[in-house]
Every structure is written in C-alpha cells, then in structure tokens.
C-alpha cells in the first residue's frame, strides 16, 4: 500500500495494464516526451517505447477512429483527450462508429477514451466541461467516473480490460488534491457497481465524481444538526447500479441527486425517473436536484464559484428535505 494521488493511481493502473498486456497502447497529444498535459502518462514513453506511447497530430476524430481500427485488430488502445472538452471534435467517431459496431456486426471494440474533465480550476468554458451525458445517452458505450484513487486505479483497469468502448472521466480538480492508500498490485473495480461512500439514515445523496467529496463534506456539516446523510458514489453512469440506488432510497426514503454537470438533461433526470417509477412507494418527500445551472462554465472565480454546486448548497437542500 502506498499513498497515491488520484492522478498517480490512474497512472499506476494504466502502467500495470501495459506491463500485463502487450496489446495495450496509448494514443494522444503530447503524451510521449511531455507525459501529457497533466503528466498522467509521465515516464511511459521511456518505459514502453514509441510503438506503445504515440504522440499524434491535433486531430481528435482521427485519433478516436484510429483507436477504433486498432481495437478491431485486437489491440487495446487507450486514448487521451488533452481535455475532455475536445472530445466533441471526435464525437461522430465515438457515437456513430465505435459505439455501434458491436451491435451492428458483432466485433469487439476494446477502446478507452480518458481525460480530464470538470471545473473548479478557472479553466473557462472550454477547459471545464462535464459532458458525460452525451455518452451516457449513447447505447454501446460505457461511462466511468471515479471519485477516489482506489476506484480510479481499479476502474481504469476494468475499462482497459473491457471489450467495449469506455469513456473514462478523470476530474482534474481531484488529480492532485485527493490522496489515498492504494494497493500496489493488481485489482479491478467492476464497472457498474456503486459504493456507499458513507452510510446514513435520513437522506440519500446520490452522486458521482468530484461531487462525492462535496456530498461527504455536506454530510459532515449536517451531522451535528442531527441529519444523517447517506452518500452513494455511482462510480459509473453507463451502466449504473440501479439496485444500489433503489436500496439507498428504500433505506432513507428521501433523496437528493447531485452532480456538477448542468441541470436539464443531466444524469439526475435519469435517476429521478428510475426512482419515481420503481421506488415511488418508498419516497417520503420530493426528489431534489442540486446541480450546476444551465449555462456554459464561466471563467472568473466568483462566477465559477456561483456556478458550481458545493457543500452549502447540498446542506440547504438537505435541511429543506429533512423538514418536509
């Protein structure tokens, strides 16, 4: 066991998979000599060589398409988007080519697209987006969003071993801010299994990614007030762990859905639909959403702060719901 940052845990996961399986290779911009914009792939060029750590021209569509072609040949490409915002430039290759191949003619497409997403570092409208819903709404993809170093390592391994295209969101705010003990050797966290990050009895806060930490902070704030919060960390959104969501709702009977992504069409909607169909009888209050508002991500610190959900906003919603 070593204490690793979120970023180091991801690096270790990729590293171990590359050691384990010679068909795993990396493709992206500035990931070789430079080690990636955030240094996730640092040291990998030296270790694994230029055939397996490949710097590309700036062409996201070609990168994703080429990774798909290699995956069809039995390779296991791991693509880095320098920022997940730029995944929009390779969008068609993801949603039309990679996502649909297996359904259309049965081939496996073992492909991972990973990179930094999310706000909180004053990156402005194009270095801060949470755009996971485009892919959650695309059958044939998997979408993974780890919150802890342990999960980040175990899930990137699961993603690399998966025979389907996986979009892997790394929250840049967590990269160096979150540290935790991570087992040295091989382990896998299965895609599709949620985790109760904190057990509670009054209100279930269901969330994912960086917002797991926000929920935990809110839970601590509310404890002295006698409000017991359960925090469910979804870990992956497609597939997502419906059973775990419903079980938590059945335990707490009140629920807050929390995400950093904007509101309309965000994942909270999906959860609300499932809960209000399948746990309707178990609800003792309205389902509340705490999300970013429906705007691009603004740059200036006070604007970005206003934009982002935080523990205070969660706590306020929880107090309202507790009083219901």
């Amino acid at each position: 066991m070593a204490v690793l940052t979120h970023l180091e845990a991801i690096r270790q996961g990729i590293w171990e998979e590359m050691e384990r399986d010679p068909s795993v290779f990396l493709l992206g911009e500035d990931i070789g000599a430079y080690g990636g914009a955030f240094k996730v792939t640092e040291g990998m060029l030296e270790k694994f060589g230029g055939d397996r750590v490949i710097d590309t021209p700036i062409s996201e569509s070609a990168i994703v398409g080429a990774a798909t072609g290699a995956a069809l040949m039995g390779m296991r490409p791991v693509v880095e988007m320098q920022f997940m915002d730029f995944i929009a430039c390779g969008f068609d290759q993801i949603v039309n080519m990679a996502a649909k191949i297996h359904y259309r003619w049965g081939a496996a497409v073992p492909l991972v697209i990973r990179g930094p997403s999310g706000a909180g570092v004053h990156g402005g409208p194009f270095h801060s987006q949470s755009n996971e819903m485009w892919f959650v709404h695309t059958p044939g993809l998997k979408v993974v969003v780890p919150a802890t170093p342990y999960d980040a390592k175990g899930l990137i391994k699961a993603a690399i071993r998966d025979d389907n295209p996986v979009i892997f969101y790394e929250h840049k705010f967590l990269y160096r801010r979150i540290k935790d003990e991570v087992p040295d050797g091989d382990y896998v966290v299965p895609i599709g299994k949620a985790r109760v990050a904190r057990a509670g009895t009054d209100i279930s806060v269901i969330t994912y990614g960086a917002m797991v930490w926000t929920a935990l902070e809110a839970a601590s704030q509310l404890e002295p007030e006698g409000i017991s919060i359960e925090v469910v960390d979804l870990r992956s959104l497609l597939p997502y762990d419906e059973e775990a969501v419903l079980a938590s709702v059945r335990r707490c009977n009140k629920v807050i859905l929390l995400h950093e992504d904007t509101r309309i069409g965000g994942f909270a909607g999906e959860l609300a639909a499932t809960i209000s169909e399948k746990a309707f009888q178990d609800l003792d209050g309205p389902i509340l959403r705490v999300t970013a508002p429906d705007t691009p991500v603004p740059f200036s610190p006070p604007l970005e702060k206003y934009f982002l959900p935080n523990a205070q906003k969660v706590a306020e919603a929880a107090r309202r719901l507790a009083a219901y």
Binding site: G65, L72, M73, M75, M97, G106, K142
Partner: protein, 354 residues
Amino acid sequence: MPAVNKARRLKQAPRAPDPSTLERMLYYLKLTREAEYRIERVLYRQGKIVGGVYVGRGQEAIAVGSAIQLVEGDVVLPSHRDFAAFLIRGVSLREIFCNWMGRANGPTRGRENTLHIGNLRLGLIPIISPLGDTCPVACGVGLAFKQRRQQNVVLVHFGEGTSSRGDVHEAMNLAAVMKLPVVFICNNNAYAYSTPASKQYAVRRLSVRGAAYGMPGVTIDGNDVLAVYAGAAAAIGRARAGEGPSFIECKTFRMSGHSAHDAADYVPNELFEREAKKDPILRLEKLLLSRCLVTPQRLAQIDETVRKEVDDAAAFAEASPFPDGAEAVEGVYCGERCFWKDRRAGGGPGRVPA
C-alpha cells in the same frame, strides 16, 4: 468458376495481372453487375427490399482491380458502392442478399442493411453512413499492422464527395506522419448525390491532395481495371515495404441515380451516353477476346454461372426468415454471454478462404 486468390506473402505485387487473374476479375465484374441489377432493378421495384439501395454500376473495376490483390490478413474498408470487394474477400452472395433483405440469417442478423457487412476473419470493415469515418479507422488497422511488424496493408475507398470531410484529411495526414500501410482510394464518380464535382472541390485532379500530405498521389482511369490493378499494385507494394500510404484517384462515373429512388434528372443525358462507352466490363471483355485469353463460349459460360449464382442468392434470401423482433434488444455490449458468440466477428482478421 475461378478459384479465390490463394493466401500468400508479396513484397512487391506485380503490376500486371496474369491470365487467370484477368478472368477472375471479369467474373467478379459480371457477378457484381448482375447482383446489383437484381437488387436495384428487380427486387427493389418489387418492394422486396426496404430502405436505401445504392449500387456501383459502371464503377465496379475499382474494387475489383484493387481487392483482387489482397492477401491473408489484409483489410479493406469499401465504400457503399464497392460490392465486389465483399465477394472477392469471400462473403457469399447469399449472405449479401440476406443482409439487403433484412433476414435473420444475414451476417448482421437484420440489424444493418446494404453493404454494411463486417467480417474480421475476411478482413472486411464496413462503411457507416457518416461518410469519411472509415478513413481514420483504416489508419488504426494500419497502425496495428505496423506495431506488430505485420506486412499487411489496408485499402479504404471513399467517394469524391466524401473527400471534403474533415475525417479524410485527418486520416491522410495521420497516415503520412506515421507512415502507415494505408492505400486511400477515391472513387471519383463525378457526382455526390446531385452535387457535381465542380461544387465539391476546386482543383483539376484530387490526386494533388497526396502531395499535400507527403504521399504519392495519382489519378487513373477507374474504368480500366488494368489501370486500377497497376495503380493499386504500386501503392500496395509501397505499403508492404513500409514506405507508407498512397492516394489513388480513380476517375469513373456513377451510371445510376444516387440511390434506387433517384432518377438523376440532374445528370445531362449526354454524360450518361458518353460514359456508357467506357464501361469497364465491355472493355475487359474486348481485351480478353482480342488477346484470345477468353472465348465467346467461355464468356457465355461465365454469364450463365453468374446468373445462376444470383438466382440462387435471391431465392435463398427470399426464403429466409426475418429475425424475431425481440432480438432487437440483445447484443448491444460485448460480454460473456455474447449474442454474437456463434458468429463472433471480433479478434483480429483471420484467413481468406483458400
């Protein structure tokens, strides 16, 4: 019926086909023409084919003259008009007709239509409708070959209209930078749906794009199967030798509407008449006859074989069952209990049937 190309390794392909290859090419040209005719002019009009119908009438020589040279492990990504590529790589006519008619025993089990047929064992990756998308995918196939030090090549076909899409650019640039064994083949048939080439690009020859990326670019007569053969042979040879990608513009003409429902009123009749004279099948027949490489009797035999094969495939497909609707929700993901298990297409290309 001519035998299918034997798997073999070639450092440098010969620039001219031997007599048996010539006859095989004629056979595939004719088989393609007849099969597409049956689909477009017979079955579609009888309402037996639902959905879009695109054919490559008049431009069959491009796929024939190039795919015929592929060997075991090579991969081709045909355009929506390269019917012959599927036949040459070993997909049966029965399978193709079943696919076109949405039958359960077609290779996509009714999920896909037309030539959207993939088969990794046979080295076939199908087009998807968003045009140009296969060009980057071809790069990835070539990249895998390069990483594995495999002397295989990839051919990718696309129309001159498709050449406008960004994906084609990104792919050609990537292939050139990485020296990938990819042959980019532009089937320039003068129209993209109703749009003439003059509204698609502003150069005389698209092959100038080769130089723009740092790869050879040639323009050849796509209705001359020998010219296609020679052009493809040179490019394939370069690719196998590790010298990187090439670009081939094949000039041809779309001797049909864009799809079966399109009367192509926007194409001047003179053009159709002029282009009909360049028909690749007539040209090859004439050549073979003049060189005494084939007899009129043999030609009649081939025609007969072809007609029977198409009859058989059409009858087989018509008699085949439709899939059960409930299958629609299966096989979205590749996993342990795979819907596709019995016909698994994944896992790298296998061998072309010998």
